[in-house]
Amino acid sequence: MGPVIRDLENSITQLDLEKATAICRELAPSTAPEELFTAIGNALNIVGEKYEQGEYFLSELIMAGEVVNEVLKQIKSAQRVNIMGTVVLATVKGDIHDIGKNIVAMLLRSSGFEVIDLGCDVPSEKIAASVKENKASIVGLSALLTTTIAEFGKVVNSLENDGVRRNVRTLVGGAAVNEKSLEYGVDAWARTAVDGLKICKRIAGRLNES
């Protein structure tokens, strides 16, 4: 990695919007997109680590996402960019909490995913229909309330009823979620938004290889 690319990485990590976009404007026309995405990915990993270590807070995660969004605009205006995959996100029916889901959406978009955010209190049928319509490869479900986590199972059933269960990986997160949530037939659970991003990247990596 060259020094200018490292500057891009550092400026994202330090949430320096002006510097990051200025570097990217200069680099984007003549640099391979993989190299730019590697720098962005490294920066987001560092931001995620700082968040997990308590050095950064939700505000820094949000601002890092904003910096990356602006950087992505520069890259997209200069070259064609491959999408990592399409993710349908929703807070399940009966649950109205969306802060965590919104952060996951922002991190995924910043990392090159196409995100279809269905909002809060979303019935399982609507989630399955969106997966089918958008040919999504990942479904991310959020639940803060223990009263609503049984909805995960309903979403899995709706995906099966719509014939798309095999095409999609299901990931759940939120305050009510733990490893017991896997009993509802979902594929993975995430402790934090950053954790969710890592899992989506792993899933996308495997799908793109196959």
Binding site: L15, L17, Y51, G54, Y56, F57, L58, S59, E60, I62, M63, G65, E66, K93, G94, I96, I99, G100, N102, I103, M106, G119, C120, D121, P123, L145, T146, T147, A175, A176, T192
Partner: protein
């Protein structure tokens, strides 16, 4: 000792006769079950002849429910419910409406509550035009005063709930993400928005004082399970002084000021305590350790909470509720300065019978001197 004395003795960090009990809110399905009749929901009832009267009816029902449950204090008003008599909700479509604060709200599919989905202040021009509710609008003040009057002669302490700036700020702006980006990219816009909401919140605190409430409760959430939603520097720059202003209003009139916030507050806890708050609610279970908190801060401020309303109150058996109440009293009841309450509110999924059990166990296990270790 009567209910009021019991509550104020705990706020004074002393031992009352029993651990007092209260809560910051009871959702309409709970009120419906307690009274076995319909109580107006949060969403603006489209068919109701007067939204103002429906809000008054719900607030009076909440006071009555707290008295019936045997609580020692009751919320009488929240700034969320502040509307003049001619207020008509502004519906965007069949599901969403703009409320009096400029928040876009939606009723949950089960009708148990409403939730915030967006804001209306997107530009500096929107902010110029933006007018939050005025607590001293005579019809809004009448709403507050009517509930206060109906409660004043009851043996129950009156809580007036307001915000300080941040929480309404991010909602009116359309989300935490938007206001955080403003902090970095458009700081003056963010400052001006919070200044407007801080002033509106101060007016509510002042109106509650004039209506005769006993305690101010500031309800802005500052944290999630991980930590503060904004970093401590931003918190100090944009919000701490807003909280301080509400605390100052309380102190000027010799009223206790309680602070509510979910989540892990540790990185900003000292800032919050140094404003001079009287008590903190709910020391979220599983996130902040109640016993450790009592040991560190129990001599400086009253603790309110923290019966688990995520799992135990909605799903728990009677014995599980009693066990959780005893957990709270064991951890925080020693030497007084503790008020039992749920870990957030008596929301629509809580079993009402479990609330009665919670109060019953507080009266049995919470008798001073405590038997607990």
């Amino acid at each position: 000792m009567n209910h009021r004395d019991r509550f104020f003795t705990a706020l004074d960090l002393k031992e009352p006769d029993y651990v007092p009990v209260t809560d910051l809110g009871l959702d309409p399905p709970i009120l419906k079950e307690i009274f076995n009749r319909e109580v107006p929901r949060y969403a603006y009832p489209k068919a109701h002849p007067s939204v103002w009267e429906s809000f008054l009816e719900r607030r009076l029902a909440m006071v009555e429910a707290c008295v019936r449950l045997g609580f020692d204090a009751t919320p009488i008003m929240s700034d969320y419910d502040a509307i003049p008599k001619d207020y008509k909700p502004s519906f965007i479509d069949t599901e969403r409406y703009v409320d009096q604060w400029g928040r876009v709200m939606q009723e949950s599919s089960e009708g148990k509550t409403t939730y915030f989905v967006g804001g209306t202040v997107n530009t500096p021009r929107d902010l110029d035009d933006y007018a939050p509710p005025d607590a001293f609008n005579p019809e809004i003040f009448e709403l507050v005063e009517n509930v206060a009057k109906a409660t004043r002669d009851r043996d129950v302490a009156m809580l007036g709930e307001c915000h300080s700036g941040w929480h309404l700020g991010f909602q009116v702006r359309g989300g935490i993400d938007k206001i955080v980006i403003d902090f970095y990219r458009h700081p003056q816009f963010a400052r001006d928005l919070l200044e407007k909401l801080s002033k509106a919140s101060q007016a509510f605190a002042q109106a509650y004082v004039e209506a005769g409430v006993d305690v101010l409760v500031v309800t802005d959430d500052y944290a999630d399970n991980h930590g503060p939603l904004i970093n401590p520097k931003l918190f100090r720059e944009y919000e701490l002084s807003n909280l301080q202003k509400i605390v100052d209003i309380g102190r000027k009139h010799n009223l206790p000021v309680l602070k509510h916030s979910d989540g892990n507050l540790y990185p900003i806890l000292d800032d919050i305590i140094e404003t001079g708050i009287t008590g903190l609610h709910p020391i979220e279970p599983g996130i902040m350790d109640l016993k450790a908190f009592k040991e560190s801060y129990g001599k400086r401020l009253c603790i309110l909470g923290n019966v688990d309303c995520r799992q135990v109150l909605p799903f728990g058996t009677e014995e599980e509720v009693r066990t959780d109440v005893r957990r709270c009293i064991d951890a925080a009841g020693k030497d007084g300065g503790f008020v039992l309450a749920s870990s957030n509110s008596i929301h629509g999924n809580v079993k009402v019978d479990n609330v009665y059990v919670m109060v019953d166990e507080a009266r049995k296990y919470g008798k001073y001197p405590l038997k607990s270790k």
